[in-house]
Symmetry: C2
Subunit: 216 residues, 2 copies
DNA sequence: GTCTATACTCTGATAGAC
DNA sequence: GTCTATCAGAGTATAGAC
């Protein structure tokens, strides 16, 4: 009996949080109201307040769920793969998929954590850093094989490729011309080998700012 | 007399919009209140309402200003440069600089346009598309020289590199370890030549998803 | 665990004096 | 062009019945 109850609790939690995430994505944190969540869940505001005592508590729980989902999706995708290069490629694809194909929970985690303040915000930043640390480890696996250019900062590469991937969520539509596989493959080619034909690499390296350009 | 007045008007406009952008970046569109803007401008709410009849009108004007600034910064940076490769490199650097070193106006344009609804939203999307079209032209200049890999979509490359650049605004701090020049150069190397040593390009190309991985 | 009813606060916007 | 004063609505959160 206790087990059945527990299952229902979890299901309700995800149901509520999915709706909350969708509303936050549409209207932002301040634009999402507890009334709207309750209504979409078929409850009245007072009932939702029984589950979550404050609006902020909903978002904190939502982001924890997003972190769990994202991390486990990547771990699953990399399971049993030893080649560090392929691990990154698989992880990148898994990250992209949970971001755009799951629901709005991961999107909210990545784009709306600034909405939180004080303690809740610090907590989220810590969780996010942990997640990015995970990525850093994967990239370092490639570095340890001596496959990374030595003139580039690893943590900067992490942030830049993270940006290319996460930004996809701002424009991707399932009905669009590009499939997720095409996008993931193009990111992979761009980041690992660059977008220029090999013959042009020298030209790109040689391009220098004209004199007189102020340093930014 | 009329000229002096006009100068004051423009100055006031930018003053108000800078403050509004800063507040939106901190609290989101809904979290920014007209009262807060007025207070930070040393006005009372009624006075601000005389300048902008609705809250949405403030944001629309703000985004128009952001677009003007961003476009003119890039045009200035590319002025007199013929090499398409260098044009992109200079434009990218200028875009990055107005995004993180100017003030919060361009940030709000790129990250908060979803806050708008209806007519105002459509207007902003049109302006943004125009801006991205400008970038597409620059990238096509490189393609016309035959320097771009032919297996990649140009508009996808635009979106992906746009993502890598724009995401910088979410983590960059002027006091951080990286200078803007370092960041811009690393983006350039990553996007044009890739982050792997040339010897590893073959490995990256050869890495294939293991069988049994469902297509996403 | 859900409902009803409500207290309290903040918000965008307005009207009219100066 | 700025101020004072204020309205009507929406927001979070609460208290207590069921």
């Amino acid at each position: 009996m206790a087990r059945v109850r527990e299952k229902d609790e979890v299901a309700d939690r995800e149901f509520i949080l999915n709706i909350a995430a969708s509303l936050i994505r549409q209207h932002g944190f301040k634009g999402m109201t507890t009334r709207k969540i309750a209504q979409a869940c078929g409850m009245l505001p007072g009932s939702l307040h029984y589950r979550y005592r404050t609006k902020e508590a909903i978002v904190v729980d939502l982001m924890k769920l997003a972190m769990e989902r994202s991390t486990s999706a990547i771990e699953l995708a990399c399971q049993g793969i030893d080649d560090p290069l392929l691990r990154v490629r698989m992880g990148l694809r898994a990250h992209l998929e949970t971001l755009v194909n799951g629901n709005d929970i991961v999107y909210v985690l990545l784009f709306e954590w600034r909405s939180l303040e004080g303690q809740a915000r610090a907590e989220m930043i810590a969780l996010r850093d942990e997640y990015e640390q995970f990525w850093l480890g994967m990239i370092k696996g490639v570095q340890d094989l001596g496959l990374l250019r030595r003139d580039l900062s690893v943590s900067l590469l992490k942030l830049l490729s993270f940006g290319a991937v996460n930004w996809v969520a701002t424009w991707y539509r399932p009905s669009g011309a590009m499939t997720l596989d095409q996008i993931a493959d193009t990111i992979w080619v761009m980041v690992t080998q660059g977008v220029l034909v090999p013959e042009a690499h020298e030209l790109a390296e040689a391009s220098r700012y004209p004199s007189g350009v102020p340093s930014v």
